[in-house]
Structures are given as structure tokens and as C-alpha cells.
Symmetry: C2
Subunit: 301 residues, 2 copies
């Protein structure tokens, strides 16, 4: 699982900082999460191939999370993209994009599918044989969802030496990888654990931005490998965080601790702070494994 941060600052794009956007690669699938202004240039700078992006998840309709979407959609069309593109985001996003395409008299060369969200409960929004994506309802000034990316349980690993020892034919391998026991021609039962080993544990990633401190998300993100939680402010601005329905670094760490996640990535920093290192310092008092998002940084998990 690989995460590339394209932008991790709040509010407005600036000379050296970008609004929210990130690319999650999991089981060879690429998911673009949020798309602030300038995302298409950040994708180019980080050498992420446009053609690999087929699914875009938008958390909410504040500009720093979606103003780059129309530009990316248009660029895909200018590049004569043919593959379908799926957009998952709050109700209204389809109207915004379609109005702009209509008024510019330009239509996409590819299938553009909107999956509009309006439920306040968690929903499965994407699923294939390897990955599932669910919404994580968040608390913010407008309707907002985080997203939980879960790798599905992998096949058991075949112990080639063992299956050959028992003379098991190749046509049974898939059943064995799926966990089935085998009865040999001699009638002997070979239990699965004798010819396989446990698969690599499935990975999970939770993106939670923007949100006020909200303990109700804990059951959903319990034990995830990586939690990206917004930390717009430091504890010194806790009142402002509450008023604007954002979180502090301390609150993000508290959620990480209570949800027993393995790693916490902080991001969505207000541009008022000169250094982001202090976010880590504040969070580490409560939760040990803290990473700091930075524009252009990649994390391998």
C-alpha cells in the first residue's frame, strides 16, 4: 500500500503549499482522494499517470477539496481519455461539473459516472475482488465523508513443497488457496493448514478530513493500519477548531489512540503555522506512531 500526498494544507493554495489531494495505491488500484485546485499539476510533478486514475473520492464540497476536479476532468478529455471515470462525492457535485461542461460546450470523450452521496450512515461505495471502500460519516460545516479503504483477505499461500509431497494435482491449487482441505485418491484427508500458510494480512487506510473531534467514527476505524486525520490547528487554537468544526493535533491523536490504529498521519494544516513539526510534538504526547503529511511525500506501508 502506497500513499502519495499531493497537497495537505487547509484553505487556499499558495506558492509552496497545495490544498488537499492524495493518491492511494492498494493492490495495484489507484484511488484519488480529494482534488483541490492544482491537483492535476501535482499529479504531473509526482509522475502519477493520469490513465491509472479511474476512481476519485471527494470528501466534501469546500473548495480546497474539489476545485481542481473540473480541471482534471477537462484535461482527461483533452488527452482523449477513453476509460470510464467514477466520481464519488456529495450530492451536487454532478450538477457543478455538468454545468461547466455544458457552458464550455465540451463533453468528455469517456464515460463519466457520478456516485452521489447523501446518506449519514456508512455505505459501501466501491467494491471489487480485492478492495472495498466505505464512507465514514464525518462532522463538518457541510455534508462530509471520510473514506475507509480495506484490502480484502488474500488467498492462503500455497506450500509448493508440501503439495508436491502429497502428489496433489494443479487443478486443486485454487481450492486449496481458498482454504479448502483435500482428500487424496488414497482417501487420506489433508487439512489445509498442512499445505498452506497464512496470507499477508489485509491492509486498511482511513481518510478522515475535514472533521471536528468525533468519537463516533472510532468503531469504523478501529485497528486500521493507517489513519489520516485532519489536524488543522494546534491545541492553542482549540476554540477556533471547535467553531470551524476542525480538529487539533491533540484531538487527532486521541482518536488514533482510542481507535488503536497502527499509524497516524496528520495533515490539513492551517497555513498560520510556520513549522508543521510542532503538530507531531503535540500529537506524540497521546499517540506514539505519528507521521506528518507533506506535499509530494510518499509513504509505503
Amino acid at each position: 500500500m502506497n500513499l502519495t500526498i499531493l497537497g495537505c494544507y487547509a484553505a487556499t493554495p499558495r506558492t509552496f503549499t497545495n490544498p488537499t489531494s492524495q493518491v492511494l495505491e492498494i493492490r495495484n488500484r489507484l484511488f484519488l482522494i480529494d482534488c483541490g485546485e492544482g491537483t492535476q499539476v501535482q499529479l504531473r510533478k509526482n509522475k502519477i499517470r493520469f490513465s491509472k486514475i479511474n476512481h476519485i473520492f471527494i470528501s466534501h464540497l469546500h473548495g480546497d477539496h474539489f476545485f481542481g476536479l473540473i480541471g482534471l476532468i477537462s484535461t482527461f478529455a483533452l488527452l482523449n481519455r477513453v476509460t470510464d471515470l467514477n466520481i464519488y462525492g456529495p450530492k451536487g457535485i454532478k450538477e457543478i461539473i455538468q454545468l461547466q461542461l455544458k457552458l464550455s460546450n465540451s463533453w468528455t470523450s469517456y464515460g463519466l459516472f457520478f456516485h452521489e452521496l447523501e446518506s449519514k450512515e456508512t455505505r459501501i461505495v466501491f467494491e471489487d475482488e480485492k478492495v472495498m471502500v466505505k464512507t465514514i460519516p464525518l462532522k463538518h460545516r457541510v455534508y462530509t465523508n471520510g473514506f475507509l479503504f480495506q484490502e480484502k483477505i488474500r488467498e492462503r499461500k500455497l506450500n509448493i513443497e508440501a503439495v508436491e509431497k502429497y502428489g496433489i494435482e494443479k487443478c486443486y491449487y485454487q481450492n486449496i488457496k481458498n482454504g479448502k482441505d483435500i482428500i487424496l485418491e488414497s482417501g487420506e484427508l489433508i487439512e489445509n493448514h498442512l499445505i498452506t500458510s497464512d496470507p499477508v494480512l489485509p491492509m486498511s487506510y482511513a481518510f478522515c478530513s475535514d472533521t471536528a473531534y468525533n468519537e463516533s467514527i472510532i468503531p469504523m476505524i478501529n485497528n486500521v493500519d493507517v489513519l489520516y486525520h485532519e489536524a488543522t490547528f494546534l491545541d492553542s487554537e482549540a476554540k477556533l477548531a471547535q467553531k470551524t468544526m476542525h480538529s487539533t493535533a491533540k484531538q487527532a491523536a486521541t482518536i488514533a489512540f482510542k481507535a488503536n490504529v497502527k499509524k497516524l498521519i496528520l495533515g490539513h494544516y492551517s497555513t498560520r503555522y510556520e513549522s508543521i513539526e510542532i503538530f507531531r510534538t503535540e500529537a506524540e504526547v497521546i499517540f506514539q506512531n505519528v507521521l506528518l503529511a507533506e506535499d509530494g511525500k510518499s509513504f509505503e506501508f
Copy 2:
């Protein structure tokens, strides 16, 4: 008169090139012309004060000319702007902006006024005591206007030595600067030209992008000091230019020559060309005074 190019490339923003946007400063007024994605960052990079921008002119609703507008409008609000902002652009622009503000539940802290254009004839869209702005109807795939910025004729320059010699009182100075003759108490008539000199000639700037080759604009831009004319392609792509309703460098130069302008700035280059110098070479065969737009370049006239 000062012109700063924020972006001068066609189609999509890329790592080192920006879509159309430019700032014209004329008689201490700042006019933002077009607003492709990333314009707000380009304004920051070029140290142009956001608070000086009160009038934004949008030529047409193709993304590379206006996708940065909603971001700029939102940023102004986040910065608690109070001064009115005026947007001049094709019908539909108000709906696009207002829909996005509504869905993000964010409203501007300042007066946001839309002046929607739909006439196919030239119209005065802005006028104050020093500057007038008119539309230049262009030929493109969607409804498009160029803009003609005309400085008004300045007051005549007072010859202080001469007025003192005649003993003329200060209360008559404004009339003299306005071109009036003066009758002294002695009854002697002093003709205006004896006590003033000609004012600096008013400057004019014509922005013409995007457009197919279109001789009907010549009467409007005749004799302007500076013409910015799109040159998306070279003559080798003349057929493509015709099909997409763009111009070649040669065609831009032909318009400049026929309209007898003083200087021609080329821009809106297709990103297919490795060097832009060849645009100048091609244009100079027809018209001598050719300048090349470049992102971040300022021209003083």
C-alpha cells in the same frame, strides 16, 4: 501601462506552464484578464496584491480561461475581503460561481457583482474618469469576447512659467488644463497652446484570445499601442487552427499589420511546441514589432 503575464499557454496547466491569465495596470487601475486554474498562485508568485484586483474580465467559458475564478473568489472571502469585486464574462458565469458557493455553504464577505455578456456587438463594459473598457467580439467555438482597454485623453500639461508670466490665478488652472483659452483682466486673449503643452498620448491595449483569424476586429483595434493576439499554432498547423477556431502566429501578425498596431504580443501557445521562439520568427516575416508572452514576464509600455 504595465502588463504582467501570469499564464499564456493553451489547454491544460502543466508543471512549468500556466493557462491564460494576465494583469493589466493602467492609470493605477488593475485589471485581471482571464483566470485559468492556478491563477491565484501565479498572483502570489508575481507579488500582485489581491486587494488591488477589483475587476476581472473573462473572455470565454473554456476551462483554461476561467477554472481558477471560483478559487480566487473563495480565497478573497477567506481573506475577509470587503471591497466589491466585479466579474465581466459570458452569460452563465454567474450560475457557475453561485452554484459552487451555495453547495459549499460559503458566501462572500464582499459584494460580488456579475456583468454578464451576451451581445455579439461591441459594448462598453467598464468606464471611469480615466479608463474605458470595451468588448471585442471574437470568433471561437463558444461565445467569446476580447477586451479593449483605452486610457482616456489626459489633461493638457500646464506651462507653469508661462501662466506665471501672464499672472494667471490658480483658480483658472483646471480650465486651462481642460484646454480653455483665458482672457486676462487687461482684455488680452491668451490662447491655450501658449500656456500648455500636449498631454501624454492615451495608451490602449487590446486582448484578443481565443479567436480564429478574424479581420472584422481590425476597425476596433486600429492603431492600438499593444495588441495581445492568440497564436495557438504555427502556420504548419493552419488547418488545425481553422478547425479549432484558433490562430497561427502568421495570422496574428497579419491582423497586427492590417490594424497598424504599434506592438504585437503573441501568446496562448499550444504545448506541442518545444520552443516558442519560432512563433516570433514566423510572425516577424509579416510584422516587425513582435513580443513573446511568457509566464511571469512583465511588459512596461
